[in-house]
Symmetry: C2
Subunit: 168 residues, 2 copies
């Protein structure tokens, strides 16, 4: 059920309609509504799961040996790879800051890492706690556009952005 919805949002973006979601899940729309009261609730559940995955990626990156900057690069690339093929989640990343537990956790973890990388001298001294979320917001837009056919390249975007964030 969740899997079908995920597939629908992933391929069609957030405007995927309930009929399409239900079809992919192999059920009728009524059945979808028996599990989730609204489309928004369904999307929230999916987003929360995705952000949970991002938190895990972030924790894994933080735990790895090496500098905080290495961890930042690692989490950014892994998060992007984890999200890029999912149009729906890219649109969520590009949207207004999500206010769920996992999203808050994520912001906290990235802010901490940024702080550490600054004190280690690898990140520009004026980096702020929201720079990673901001970068991922832009990433979401560019990845979604790319998936929709624009000839943009999110890997290139991240390369530029990370270079901009690194200490000179």
């Amino acid at each position: 059920m969740l899997e079908g919805a995920r597939a629908a949002f992933a391929e069609e973006g957030l405007e995927a309609d309930m009929a399409s979601i239900a079809a992919r899940a192999g059920v009728g729309v009524g059945t979808v509504y028996r599990h989730f009261p609204t489309k928004a609730a369904l999307l929230t559940a999916l987003s929360e799961a995705h952000f949970g995955g991002l938190v895990e990626i972030c924790e894994r990156a933080s735990a790895q040996p090496g500098s905080a900057w290495d961890a930042v690069e690692r989490l950014v690339w892994d998060s992007a790879e984890f999200s890029a093929s999912d149009q729906g989640m890219c649109e969520v990343l590009a949207g207004a800051p999500t206010e769920t537990d996992a999203a808050r956790r994520l912001r906290e973890l990235t802010a901490r890492l940024v702080e550490k990388a600054k004190t280690e001298g690898d990140m520009r001294h004026d980096a702020g706690p929201d720079d990673i979320p901001m970068m991922m917001c832009g990433f979401g837009r560019i990845a979604a556009a790319q998936q929709a056919g624009a000839h943009l390249d999110w890997r290139r975007y991240l390369r530029l952005m990370l270079d901009g964030l690194r200490a000179r």
Copy 2:
């Protein structure tokens, strides 16, 4: 008429409805349709005008004395300032690449400037012709989100991005 529509899109974004547009123009919806066959046509006209403004900014920046890199910085900041307060145009910038004369012209001008800045050695050697449009795509998303209340900062975004684009 165009002015009313511009105001509506600027404040409410692209989802501003025809009733709101008509109201701001001080006319009925029928009158709007007497000038533009569809909402999309109206938006296209507005976009074309905006891109015309961006082309002008770009030409002015290119013509100024100084390095090509200076011109790039100038055009990026001026374009952003020119667009940031208009939610509708930010969404257009963030959307799929616009296919109008002015937009194509703009891509051409920025690509030329990038090429020049590279040969002058101020821009990273692997910069591509679409790097400026890509940057402005991200800008559009972040500026629109900021205007909608998110605590993001498009000036900061551009600062990072430009630093990423500059030669080390």
